[in-house]
């Protein structure tokens, strides 16, 4: 296991300690495994919480910051936080105007967040709502869209809902509506070349041959649609774009953004090589490409591979994407 760590059991807590020590002006940890904004919650602002397993930085905790999330609950690597931690995150994000739970569609996370929502509604009188990201197009067919896994679409949803919630007078219903529109606007697909090692398990999440790739693989190593010999970057980009456009075509005059994301080890250089082709394809399909994101926005530790998220913009979503935000991983001015 070629990882830099101390006790595998302490991986998450030491990581959080380090993160908060590095950016005390952005993050605070008011309770174990709960990250909130250092400046506290602005009264009257709708709170946005997210959460899920560790090992995906900047997802989830990294996106706590102005114009983004208010709090996060974070579990062990690739494991859900507890309902109690989620409830605490919601309490931290409570500014008296309600709290949106905005996260990815994974069974354990959903159960725990639902339970947490009921808890704080009962015990703390916090009104709340849920928007789930279910953007991975290969994880279920279009007729079962709600069963899909949530992946890179979170980045857009966090940004857009986060920007909306900063607006004076935005209430829970309108923030929830924007988050839902953002979630609905996203389509994602991934591909992987090498696995990562979950510290507590100590072994790779999957194995692929020396020269193999898997198209459609999920960020935790969930099976994709095909294993095959590693293909050239342009062909990889083409197939990923084909999958995204097959699920939701580009309409004439469409304005879109795209996230070309590294799962961790794939270098920025190679993301740009992919992006070069992606841009050609999207513009070739008649779309106007706006504010593309190319980098490590949602990772799986040291996994090699890439994901793409296509976000179909409307006027408000476009403006919200361009609005200011600030966290340790993303600053828009």
């Amino acid at each position: 296991m070629k990882k830099i760590l101390n006790d595998p059991q302490a991986y998450v807590d030491e990581m959080l300690d380090g993160m908060i020590a590095a950016h005390p002006e952005i993050y605070a940890q008011p309770a174990p495994r709960v990250v909130a904004r250092a400046g506290g919650m602005r009264p009257g602002k709708v709170g946005i919480v997210s959460g899920g397993g560790s090992g995906h930085l900047p997802i989830f905790t990294g996106y706590v910051g102005s114009g983004l999330l208010d709090a996060c609950a974070i579990g062990d690597v690739f494991a859900s936080p507890s309902a109690e931690q989620m409830a605490e995150a919601m309490r931290q994000a409570n500014g008296g105007a309600g709290v949106l739970r905005l996260y990815g569609n994974y069974g354990g996370d959903v159960m725990n967040f639902d339970m947490a929502g009921e808890t704080v509604e009962l015990e703390d009188d916090i009104e709340s709502s849920t928007v789930l990201l279910a953007d991975d197009v290969v994880s279920a067919g279009p007729e079962e869209r709600e069963k899909r896994r949530g992946v890179g679409g979170m980045v857009y949803a966090f940004k857009m809902a986060g920007a909306k919630a900063e607006q004076e007078g935005a209430d829970l219903a309108s923030v929830t509506a924007v988050a839902q529109r953002a979630a609905d606007a996203c389509r994602s697909v991934g591909m992987a070349l090498t696995p990562c090692v979950v510290p507590q398990a100590g072994k790779p999440t999957f194995t692929l041959g020396e020269n193999e790739m898997e198209m459609g693989m999920g960020i935790h190593g969930e099976p994709g649609i095909r294993r095959e010999a590693l293909r050239p970057a342009d062909e990889i980009a083409d197939e990923m774009i084909d999958l995204l456009l097959a699920d939701r075509p580009i309409e004439p005059g469409s304005r879109v953004s795209i996230l070309v994301n590294s799962l961790g080890a794939t270098p920025q250089e190679e993301l740009y090589i992919l992006f070069r082709r992606v841009k050609e394809r999207l513009e070739g399909a008649g779309a106007t490409l706006l504010q593309p994101l190319v980098g490590r926005y949602a990772t799986s530790m040291e996994m090699t591979g890439a994901t793409m998220t296509l976000c179909h913009l409307d006027q408000e979503l476009e403006a919200l994407l361009a609005a200011p935000c600030h966290c340790a991983f993303w600053t828009v001015t």
Binding site: G75, D76, F78, A79, S80, P81, S82, A83, E84, Q85, G107, G108, V110, M111, N112, D114, M115, T119, A201, E222, P223
Partner: protein, 202 residues
């Protein structure tokens, strides 16, 4: 005799002990197609319940709520959340009462089953703990003798395992490997069966 806060208090350490005993087996069973944490979930969850048991309030509803909180505090895996959900349902059913009759056991199980179904968006036939609860509910219906209930629960749990063993998992992590799951006991269903041994000793 009836179900009271005191009887929960007495059962808690026995269940915790049993959970420790079966932890490794359950991790292994969950590890075959899942993330191998079921034993840890059971151990931590029941130990937390046992630790809190001394402070269980008289009100049976509140005692069940304490059980739920204990599980929520230490476990985040599906099974822990489902158990916590089952306890909430029991808490609602016994709210404000100091005891339940044994005859009400079937209703408790049915309530837990339904609450867990709502929580986990599962269905009967998916090869999960829900199917064990369904079998148990049917089997204890109308029984009021604790020994008979105990025997019925064990019979139901065994029967559910046997019935579903060769069917594919349709929920939880194991569903991704539906075919490979045929022939393997669902870990949650197996855990239900193993925990019942703690009652048997009582």
């Amino acid at each position: 005799m009836a179900i009271t806060s005191k009887s929960l208090q007495a059962a808690a350490p026995r269940l915790a002990t049993r959970a420790v005993e079966i932890a490794e087996e359950m991790n292994a069973q969950d590890g075959k197609l899942g993330d191998g944490d079921l034993g840890v979930t059971l151990r931590k969850g029941w130990q937390a319940v046992a630790e809190d048991a001394a402070d269980f309030p008289e009100d049976l509803g509140k005692a069940f709520l304490s059980c739920s909180k204990a599980f929520q505090k230490v476990s985040s895996s599906s099974f822990g959340t489902l158990v916590a959900t089952g306890f909430i349902s029991a808490a609602k059913a016994s709210k404000g009462r100091d005891s339940l009759e044994w005859l009400e056991m079937a209703g408790l199980l049915a309530g837990a089953r339904d609450a867990m179904m709502a929580r986990g968006k599962g269905a009967l036939g998916d090869k999960t703990i829900l199917d064990s609860l369904e079998a148990a509910t049917k089997e204890v219906e109308g029984l009021e003798d604790p020994a008979a209930i105990r025997a019925a629960l064990i019979a139901a749990a065994d029967q559910a395992l046997a019935e579903f063993r060769d069917r594919p998992n349709r929920l939880g992590r194991a569903r991704m490997y539906a075919e490979r799951s045929q022939g393997l006991d669902d870990p949650g269903m197996l855990a239900f069966r193993r925990l019942l041994d703690a009652f048997a000793e009582a």
